[in-house]
Symmetry: C2
Subunit: 800 residues, 2 copies
């Protein structure tokens, strides 16, 4: 061992050691009880099968370690007044967090039925992993938690997200040696290079090496100690080691080490806050090496169990068939000496209860873990987004870059909320044209600075790292603790965090139903550099499927918006930044493109979620011959260009243009609160006219949303069908039949009276496509007719 | 610097240095030419705007480094006879790989139009990132590549996948300092703990620190050298450093270092292959620190460009508006002195051409990068899967565990293919009941072994690591080099690799269209521990959406199978293991469940993809009153139980049971080659009878697949709707309305004549559900009626 195992005198007096250990035994006792018992919670009578759950579920292996850490953090809180948020990376050790929050009293305050007495303890045991009860993981139902841990990999990213802009907070993050093998966790160690010791709190990683996963040794646990130490120092930390299996010894080590770690952190923060220091601190971390299933059965059926993967879940099973296992279970539970821990009513004895912190210092009651508490979840200070409007004298008369316009708004949102709004992205803030924010704050950079660097800043509020996992994880941790933010991402690469989105959406769904959980700010995702403008990067950068992925989650927690221009984007984003408990997905391009709506019209349009653009169509007040619908900026452009072609060719054709901003409006009302009634849907889309729908993403999604609508049989959707390549922007639409000529042709094919008279015009459009294909392959550019196209009608005129 | 910067005498003679540098200049010249030039490829006349592409695309920054490495690897191949596969993690440096494979001759052999003369060079330049030409990334179109690099993070995982079971191969893997920030790459360093020096090849990571990403410094490049060195040693490597900006000096360093690295690798392999050694080798790696955009413009418009993020893409832009930029470009290109490199016809001069290896030793022609060559892509030796059949005397008469049955087959597949079949999974092979494979081979483990370990083995063929990213990435690398494998994964967590699947599917789609690319074995994914049996782990483990994700990709490269029992699973898996160029997704449970089809019937059923189960229904030969369709094992069970309830209650009801194994059959023929004709579809599902469809996943998918079918208006799909919790297996189906009682009720609601007479029966089903809910909350178990349910009719009987 090259690094300190601290060897100062024992910090715990015999009496304190005894009490601390007793508290830990109480937590372990309650954990085992949750896994096994239906009744007889205090073991007042000998254990029989009647007291045992019929189905044994839960994870014992990691739990004693989680309990051990919790108990020692309690001591740090009491002795030092620390404000600590506890993140259990091995979230499947749910019994441990439940046991500890029960012991400290928060559990019963939130769930009075689970009282601190024998009746409550029986309920505590029965409910665990039981139908109608609570999950086996550290779930939203668990007080003090912002992290589920069912899908491994995100604990440390969540921890950093929680620590940003919380200078008084210490986030203790337990990382299991299983989770440590995942990519996202391996990348998360870099979080320490984004933590500012002046304005942020501290993160204390506690790498818990209990040696085994479900069925295998863990990679990090089996490294030679020297190699592990080198790795952790390479991650930028000062590691401290707490190792052993004798509780008395390990208690002393842990108490001593936490005191040292606290001193280190205080020192780092004090130095940094007193005097600007260019040196990045080496934050401390703890390696806790204890047996898996510590204090559980040493062997079961002659096989090693404590200290083995056999402790991972339920070490003693099949109790009905195996009376010896039942006897072993009873001996195990009695080894914690419950009679010394709880009084006859089932209440924790006062000497032990006194070990828990009080009030909001209890980790189960820490306001940061519950939306940041009342104070922090107040809304953002938002400037009036209308002030950033692009002037649009009439539709299509000016060009604008939607995200650049948004950047000005975000700059001032940031300025007005300098301690509770951050922008996250993988190295793309400027590429996505949001760089106005740099007028207010640079990008966080805690490593060395060079004179040639631009927009880098200690404690900057723009978080750029080439890891979508970190961007998403940090923002999740930031919003779950009550702060606000936006993650801007290339559309194709947001799939990297599909599963993180899943878990966050599930967390929001469950927590929305808990009366005691405060609503947290929505997680806002801006997808720009989208599929239609990845003509230069090609096929690998083209994928609009995240919307499909999002739409599988519960209607109550997901929102998808496709603003067609800059003013609509401003309106949508203002709405998103005010919202709570959603994942908002906004898709908007960054390229120069025609602007359609002046601000008042944009606000009205976005509030409705969709609407008829009377100025674009030719059927005001009457049923049209065809409905041309569009969702997304490029589909809107191509639709309007198709409308212009058709109006020129068929002046008396009745065209209605419907633009959709909020995809959810298409669903039945029964499926989504934003869904239109059938009556409203019919009044927009008609019941029997052809609907040519140009959609941003995979076309099937529109069918999926509308298959129960009256007009569905007449619906023809154009969208991305995986025909991407390295080419020009317009050619991307041609390759996928989303271009103006294909759309207009589809109208001719589906409006009965045009089918007869439209042959020549169809040929004309075919010729245009042929001309395009030849031109683009010769010159590498789109035909001037397309490049220079402008909406030819103004806002009020009608040509037909 | 604590680690070796080797200082032996210069290994390159002045003449060899001159030639090597000239070859590198040629590659750089061709790279710049691809980004900029339409014409005048040899600069025979002064450069004018007419020679410049109208749209400048591509990434210069990383390219000179990629070229530098390629040139030096060529030398290693020539001098040592090394067999090297080149993986360009910074795949956006496409011009570099294209330039080098052109110089060595492979490019022109594959694409004769791009010949090694002036005409060919003009084509080479024009086609790059040009409509109708080639992508800007290292794409399937690029000879010698198995890695696109558009989405960053997977280069090192691909490298290890390629090296497994290729003992003579050296995989040189260039990792950009941007990619190094991603989670998947950070986790991939652990690959060295799974590489067996006896039976596997070597991986040489080359960390290319050019300092900058698109807009920021790179984290690793800005670390203090000591901290970086510590990190890389912690990753388990022996790092060597090659650093500088003076080409002559860096050439000598690189040549010297590659010689040293080669000696190290040879030594490691020789020792390991001669004598068994318990010690895990510390494989060498290289850190190459050179300026971004090396040899490009030093400054542009007065701003530092070489050695800055400004070199990332096109350092000189807007040439039309800025004549100085055009002059600078010409000076830059002429700085490579093309007249010394190419003869007047445009051919590389012989002295330089001689520097390239020959034949299949050229990295662009390495057979490993093209499906492993003809030899390696021969099919697997497959035992007859029928030999593993579960005996099913009549439907539902026996129970079986589908994946355990599969395990026996996989064991013997492995045994017959001990150098070209591997099983991958995140710590779950035994949990997924595939552990029969351990009879043939253990799990790879190259760290320390303890006496208590089970099924761990040096060079084992089961790859377990708690990282879905590594499992997927290794298997991709393994199949792209012509070998076979299966990735078994919890269904919910396969979303972790959504984006990796995307990229692989896109790779397969594009490469399928290239005449010279050999078909590679399919990537097989087995999703078990699926949504319906995650009652114990709860909500976070419940997500069947990967199927939806897969279905967005091109029909030509994706297949999804839902075998209803063990024999069907065997038949499906045999088919998947024989197939090429697909991603096969197979969903099958691991729990004990009724078996339906004897083997001959299973083979026939799976070959058709779907079919009527006459033995289950009551309408043989006639149109039924209702079609009860099902896809997936649990939906099949619940459907048959619902059929049994209905047959009991309404003996004369005409029920047809249709089971779907191959989801693609539901799509129109125009959408997928497996799609049924409308005639066939109607003959199975009827045109007008109610169809109650019990589906494994999100119900909307079935609507999406069938919305154009005649019977679609009568289709009622039950599936997972995000109502999951910690509960019992049957309660999971109840929560989502997929249980037998809901299904049977839905039949009553949709068969007109039952609507009148079925009220009492509906009430009966309601009562059953109430009884279930009460029972499960009291006992934690499902009602015995459900637990003990057996198909009551045998195979031929009819009750109605």
């Amino acid at each position: 061992m090259t690094s300190p195992m601290i060897t100062d005198p024992d910090p715990l007096s015999p009496q304190e050691l005894h009490l601390l250990d007793a508290y830990w035994r109480a937590a372990n006792y309650l954990s085992v009880g949750q896994i096994y018992l239906l009744d007889n919670p205090l073991l007042n009578v000998p254990l029989t099968l009647a007291h045992i759950k019929p189905r044994l579920l839960g994870h014992w292996g990691t739990t004693p370690g989680l309990n051990f850490i919790y108990v020692h953090l309690n001591r740090l809180i009491r002795e030092q007044g620390a404000d600590i948020l506890y993140i259990a990376g091995p979230g499947h050790g749910g019994p441990g967090m439940v046991a500890n929050t029960y012991l400290e009293g928060t559990y019963s305050e939130i769930y009075p039925g689970v009282s601190q007495d024998e009746v409550g303890m029986r309920r505590l045991f029965k409910q665990f992993s039981f139908p109608g009860g609570i999950p086996s993981h550290v779930a939203p139902e668990t007080p003090g938690s912002i992290h589920e841990g069912g899908e491994l990999g995100y604990s440390l990213a969540h921890a950093y997200g929680a620590a940003f802009d919380n200078p008084g907070l210490l986030v203790a993050c337990v990382i299991g040696d299983g989770e440590a093998e995942t990519g996202p966790l391996a990348g998360s160690w870099h979080g320490n290079k984004f933590l500012n010791p002046v304005t942020d709190g501290a993160v204390l990683p506690i790498l818990h090496l209990n040696g085994y996963k479900i069925a295998n040794p863990a990679l990090l646990a089996r490294l030679e100690p020297q190699e592990l130490d080198t790795l952790l120092r390479g991650y930028g930390h000062q590691p401290y080691y707490v190792e052993g299996s004798d509780p008395a010894d390990v208690h002393q080590q842990m108490a001593r080490t936490l005191e040292q770690v606290w001193t280190d952190i205080q020192g780092i923060q004090r130095r940094a806050r007193r005097e600007w220091s260019a040196e990045r601190p080496r934050w401390p971390m703890i390696v806790l090496r204890t047996p898996k299933g510590w204090t559980g059965p040493k062997t079961v059926d002659g096989k090693p169990t404590e200290g083995s993967w056999r402790s991972h879940q339920v070490p003693l099973a099949n109790l009905a068939e195996n009376p010896e296992h039942l006897r072993q279970l009873e001996a195990w539970m009695r080894s914690y000496r419950p009679e010394e821990l709880f009084d006859q009513t089932g209440r924790l004895i006062p000497e032990l209860a006194a070990l828990a912190p009080s009030g909001e210092r209890r980790m189960g009651a820490n306001p940061h873990a519950n939306g940041g508490g009342g104070l922090l979840t107040r809304g953002l200070e938002l400037p009036d987004f209308r002030n950033y409007a692009v002037a649009v004298p009439h539709p299509g008369s000016v060009d604008g870059e939607a995200t650049r316009t948004l950047g000005g708004f975000l700059r001032d949102v940031m300025k007005a909320n300098m301690t509770r709004f951050r922008l996250f992205g993988p190295d793309e803030t400027a590429s996505n044209r949001l760089d106005s924010v740099y007028e207010v704050s640079g990008k966080t950079w805690e490593e060395a600075l060079l004179p040639t660097d631009e927009h880098l800043e200690r404690g900057g509020r723009v978080m750029e790292v080439l890891s979508e996992h970190l961007c998403e994880g940090w923002l999740e941790g930031y919003t779950l603790t009550g702060r606000h933010g936006l993650f801007s991402c290339y559309e194709a690469f947001i799939h990297i965090v599909d599963s993180m989105f899943n878990q966050h959406a599930k967390w929001l769904k469950t927590s929305s139903a808990l009366h005691w959980r405060r609503p947290v700010p929505s997680l806002n995702i801006l997808l720009t550099s989208h599929v239609w403008r990845q003509d230069h990067n090609g096929n690998s950068h083209q994928d609009p499927g995240f919307i499909d992925h999002v739409m599988n989650k519960k209607a109550g927690v997901v929102r998808v918006y496709l603003p067609p221009d800059a003013n609509c984007l401003l309106s949508v984003m203002d709405h998103c930044l005010r919202s709570r408990q959603y994942v908002n997905v906004v898709v908007a391009g960054k390229q120069l493109a025609p602007q359609w709506l002046e601000m008042d019209a944009a606000v009205k349009h976005c509030a409705a979620g969709l609407g008829i653009w009377e100025w674009a169509g030719t059927s005001e007040g009457v049923e049209p011959d065809v409905v041309m619908a569009c969702a997304g900026d490029v589909p809107t452009l191509e639709t309007l260009a198709a409308v212009a072609l058709l109006r020129e060719q068929f002046p008396d054709l009745g065209i209605r243009v419907v633009n959709v901003v909020d995809l959810m409006t298409l669903q039945p009302q029964s499926e989504h609160p934003h869904g239109l009634s059938d009556l409203d849907f019919d009044s927009l889309f008609t019941r029997d006219k052809p609907i040519i729908f140009a959609y941003h993403g995979y076309p099937w999604l529109i069918h999926r949303l509308t298959y129960r609508r009256h007009g569905h049989a007449n619906l023809h959707v154009h969208g991305y069908k995986e025909e991407g390549s390295t080419t020009t922007p317009f050619d991307m639409t041609v390759l996928n039949d989303l271009d103006r000529f294909h759309l207009a042709t589809d109208v001719i094919d589906h409006v009965p009276r045009l089918q007869e008279i439209g042959a020549d015009v169809k040929q004309l459009f075919q010729d245009k496509l042929t001309e395009h294909r030849r031109y683009v392959r010769e010159t590498g550019q789109d035909i001037p007719e397309v490049l220079n196209w402008r909406w030819p009608f103004g806002s009020g005129e009608r040509s037909g």
